[in-house]
Symmetry: C2
Subunit: 306 residues, 2 copies
Amino acid sequence: MRSSQLAQNIANEITLLVTSGELAVGDPLRTQHLADRFGVSRSPVREALQMLSEQGVLEQKENRGFFVKESAGALAETVSDEARPFEVANDYQRLAEDWLTDRIPAEVTEQVLRERYDLTKMQLNDILMRAVREGWAERKQGYGWRFLPVAKTPEAFEQIYRFRMLIEPAAMLEPDFRLDRKIIEEQRRIQSRMLETDIERLPAERLLHNGALFHEELIKMSNNPFFHLSLVRVNRMRRLLEYRSRVDRSRLVRQCQDHLDILDLLERGEVIEASYAMRRHLGGALSKKSPITWSWSHQMQEKTLE
Amino acid sequence: MRSSQLAQNIANEITLLVTSGELAVGDPLRTQHLADRFGVSRSPVREALQMLSEQGVLEQKENRGFFVKESAGALAETVSDEARPFEVANDYQRLAEDWLTDRIPAEVTEQVLRERYDLTKMQLNDILMRAVREGWAERKQGYGWRFLPVAKTPEAFEQIYRFRMLIEPAAMLEPDFRLDRKIIEEQRRIQSRMLETDIERLPAERLLHNGALFHEELIKMSNNPFFHLSLVRVNRMRRLLEYRSRVDRSRLVRQCQDHLDILDLLERGEVIEASYAMRRHLGGALSKKSPITWSWSHQMQEKTLE
DNA sequence: TATTGGCTTTTTAAATTCAAAAATGCAATT
DNA sequence: AATTGCATTTTTGAATTTAAAAAGCCAATA
């Protein structure tokens, strides 16, 4: 029962819609709507829907389309681990890990990479394209690729935080800064739910994602896209370093509180206060991290979420 | 007399070494040395050297290698216009221009692009990879590519300057900031030479390049790579907007002066003063730009250099 | 009238072959 | 001992073909 990679990914994304509660039991799934949402045509969407109805997540009614069948709770168990959008991510992570730990040389030919990871030209291309986007790989002038030195040390985290401590509070003071109630409400909803939910039970990846999302959505309100883009980029770099770390859930509660406080200040129009609060929030994450011992060999690492 | 693209590029780069004065008449050119410098093997270097000796720029002595033959001055006339490293740049610029002026849709298939610009799969790939790196293109989930909204308006310049006004002065106050005499001297040399030379005669591209270089080299001294990377990236974006503009040379003298002043302050260890000076310098470029009328159709644009 | 479901067309990936180009090894020369 | 000049090997690009996958179309249906 092989099916296309894209359909797989879409199936996973649709599953996410159900588990996240955006879709309830009985809701219809419109193919065109989903296709637009994911930026694809209806073909892979249809395929995904068919897959999911075979798995019993959805129900297909003749000539009427697909409907949510299974409850979110029942699903939460079964998925979440394998269901990762974008399979490539795995190979990308392998490459990133190998580079971060000096298991591959700084300059390699494509052939070596293809053999090492058993990839087609195209697959390798996708991965390298991503590494280029993230800024740690480039094509050599002749044959081969060059990997650029990436901050792999604990200091890199500090540097990222200092950078963020500069731009995130400043973003709120930009002349074009405008409150966006929709963003604020959405983030409040997400953060509140994280507090209500048993944080221990949520997958680490989701925690990290929500944390980054909060900051990225907020910085958008500066209406200066260069602030936003910069944050997105350091966050991507951070993720590269983080995926091997252990989430320190004990600090999460405090951090969600901070987030909600900042949202409150913003909503009351106390932007300058919010800016200070943001600075303190980031500074807190920074100072608490210094005593941590790092060993980049094979141990898991402590880290904070913001 | 076709020769490989790479060899062409290298020939151009070598020519640059001669015209820039790094190599004088009679100096030998070591193949391995050049190969290492450009990150390629000796083959394309040899080919380039042979090309140049056919053109009379170099002289080949039996079993002893290549030597500079022509003087820098004599060369300066003949080259500089066609001799652009990286041919691809042209196609990239065409694509960028077309996107900036809405002549291509936000979502296109590779085939459409290949036909429009008459490119091979690989050439198109290179160009798109570059656009991905610069952050304004991404592969769609299914077939095709999506171009992301790029700030194409005058406001974009202001936004970039505000971002730079934040990070560049702050970079000097980073805890790991260290003066690097070598960088300072190098930049002083470059800026002084621009002042001494008749600025009207220097190619616009070089002026822009030197201006960006000054700021990028200085921010490096923060020893926080994320500051540097961010600046490099907004500068790249800026260049995308600038290549259609007209360089306002009248302001150049003042800007070089500013640069030299900042270097003086840094050298005397007055870092905080330098930080302020940098802020004023950037702020000046910003405020002077507002009265400019923009028309993104086909007219040339005014702009400043920093 | 919007949407589905099947069908057709278009687009891209994969595999293969061939030629060009780059990398590399080594004897000869300075 | 370092470097050239040439020969050999390796890597990559280009072109082609085939198959898979996605996009787009349209009649049927709720």
